[in-house]
């Protein structure tokens, strides 16, 4: 099967700053592919080269079998784009924007059901400037879906949104994939990539550090799971250290953290506590996340 996107040895500099340095990857039809990394890592430059909005210095790009530079207008008929930084005129109404943008495409869909789907029907006659951040983003998604695209680009879709709006946006993105469309998104939220993406490329300083499914990335780290709980009264660390699945135990005040391999860790801990009649509360488990993967691979915290 021909991949939806194929990027080979992409390179792009601005002056002396190398924004993207020899990046190669493929996006398969029907998947949600994410590019994750801190601000300034080269995500937007990469996605905009793929969209045909920027001209690469070197490398080849094929999108839906087209060359984004040479076949730019043909490509724009078939893709949907949500840009990181863009706007509409302040006084344009939601329906006017939809109606206008639909006229730009050969296959402009009926936009009314789209407004319903994105929960914007009530804002039908509201001017752009009066929309909330989340509503503006939903309108931009609606505009990106107007031409029934095969491939949708979402660049930092949830930046600046509150957690609730962000989660609502995730559902929308999953909905887009369910319609059989391919999604290429960028984000600097590791949690977002973990929740949404079938495959993730972690990019830092213009280079892809690693690329795999979130599960494989987390698994490959061999990172430990944690069981965290609070104890009332006396507690002896040694009672837990004997278990093979436990690697170490830390206690700070009444808070205890048990590190170990995921298999059997929780049951070992709970059994031991029950057997020793230890009174405990607020027990929860924490697995490694993509955040840990990023930290392990780049040696740095995500710069937000």
């Amino acid at each position: 099967m021909i991949p939806s996107i194929e990027v080979l040895n992409l390179r792009k500099s601005y002056g002396t700053t190398v924004a993207v340095d020899d990046v190669s990857f493929q996006v398969q039809e029907g998947e949600i592919f994410g590019m994750v990394g801190p601000n300034g890592a080269g995500k937007t430059t990469t996605i905009e080269c793929v969209e045909g909005l920027r001209q690469p210095d070197a490398g080849t790009i094929q999108v839906l079998g087209l060359d984004p530079q040479r076949d730019s207008y043909e490509l724009r008929e078939r893709i949907g784009v949500q840009l990181q930084e863009s706007a509409l005129p302040d006084r344009i109404k939601v329906w006017e924007a939809m109606d206008l943008f639909a006229s730009f495409y050969r296959r402009g869909l009926d936009w009314r059901p789209l407004l319903d789907q994105l929960g914007l029907s009530e804002k039908h006659s509201a001017p752009f400037a009066k929309l909330s951040g989340g509503q503006k983003q939903r309108l931009f998604i609606a505009l990106a879906l107007l031409n029934d695209p095969d491939l949708v680009f979402l660049d930092e879709l949830t930046s600046g949104l509150d957690p609730q709006a962000r989660r609502a946006m995730w559902d929308l993105v999953r909905g887009i994939r369910q319609q059989g469309k391919t999604v290429f998104l960028t984000t600097h939220y590791m949690e977002e990539a973990e929740q949404l993406c079938d495959r993730v490329a972690i990019i830092d300083r213009g280079q892809i550090v690693t690329l795999d499914t979130p599960e494989n990335l987390i698994h490959s780290l061999g990172a430990e799971n944690r069981v965290v709980f609070c104890v009332d009264g006396r507690f002896d660390k040694k009672s837990l250290q004997a278990f093979p699945s436990v690697t170490r135990v830390e206690q700070v005040g009444e808070r205890v953290i048990v590190y170990g391999q995921s298999d059997g860790l929780v049951s070992s801990v709970v059994n031991a506590l029950e057997a020793g009649s230890v009174r405990f509360r607020d027990l929860r488990t924490e697995g490694p996340t993509l955040e840990d993967v990023f930290l392990a691979l780049t040696g740095q915290e995500m710069r937000d």
């Binding site: 909005l53 863009s86 706007a87 509409l88 730009f104």
Partner: protein
């Protein structure tokens, strides 16, 4: 073609929703006419060759409308759309730049024409303004003046890095033009030296051409004006086509 007409219609609606732009395009010149018409009336005077103040002001104010749309409204709106990322959003669609610009120019043209028609209407009804030319020559002169100033405006927008700079540059060029070109103060009352300097200001040529055509003179008598304005148009189009940026 569907994109062109939709864009034209939408831009026209947006234009009229912008109170400042709508004021300077449609209300300002007729308001000035009523103000000075009330002060001076429209009695024939020898200074204007037996015509009244309003007779001379109506064609001159057409130049004023062209100036405020071309050098203030257009560059500010264009640079603002670029700065905010509106043009970027258009660029991510199959919309062709030429389609966008054509729709934009048509909207500015129609809005300017709307202001001019209202001005003439106020002059006719309020002051029985005297018009001795023919409508086609007037329309042609207006079109030449308007299009050359739009090209000038796009040039300012293209060369200005930000909307604020576009605004400043537009104002700095427009304000002296307004007073020294005959658009507001008739050239007849200005001192000889100023009148001489006025020949180097593009708006003077718009006003002189319009005033001439208004009293029935033909284009042949105004070759200088026509050539200067064609020059502005050609230079403006070429330079802004080369320097126009979506972002």
């Amino acid at each position: 073609m569907r994109a062109f007409w939709k864009l034209t219609l939408t831009q026209a609606k947006l234009y009229l929703r912008e109170p400042i732009a709508a004021f300077f395009t449609i209300v300002y010149a007729p308001m000035m006419l009523v103000l000075f018409g009330t002060i001076y009336g429209n009695e024939p005077t020898p200074m204007f060759g037996g015509r009244g103040t309003v007779d001379v002001s109506v064609p001159a104010y057409i130049g004023l409308i062209i100036l405020s749309v071309g050098l203030m409204g257009l560059p500010i709106a264009t640079a603002t759309s670029r700065e905010k990322g509106v043009l970027r959003r258009y660029r991510a669609t199959p919309l062709r730049p030429a389609t966008y610009l054509a729709a934009d120019v048509l909207v500015y043209f129609c809005m300017t024409l709307l202001g001019v028609l209202l001005l003439i209407l106020v002059g006719k009804i309020g002051y029985r303004v005297r018009f001795d030319g023919d409508v086609l020559s007037l329309l042609a002169s207006f079109s030449l003046g308007a299009l050359s100033f739009f090209a000038f405006g796009f040039l300012i927008a293209s060369l200005s890095p930000t909307a604020r700079i576009a605004q400043t540059v537009g104002m700095v060029i427009a304000f002296p033009m307004m007073f020294v070109s005959g658009a507001t103060v008739p050239l007849e009352v200005l001192p000889e030296g100023v009148r001489h300097a006025a020949r180097f200001i593009p708006l003077t040529h718009v006003v002189t051409l319009l005033r001439g055509v208004w009293v029935g003179e033909v284009w042949g008598e105004h070759l200088t004006e026509v050539i200067v304005l064609l020059g502005v148009l050609v230079v403006g189009v070429i330079v802004s086509a080369k320097t126009f940026r979506w972002e």
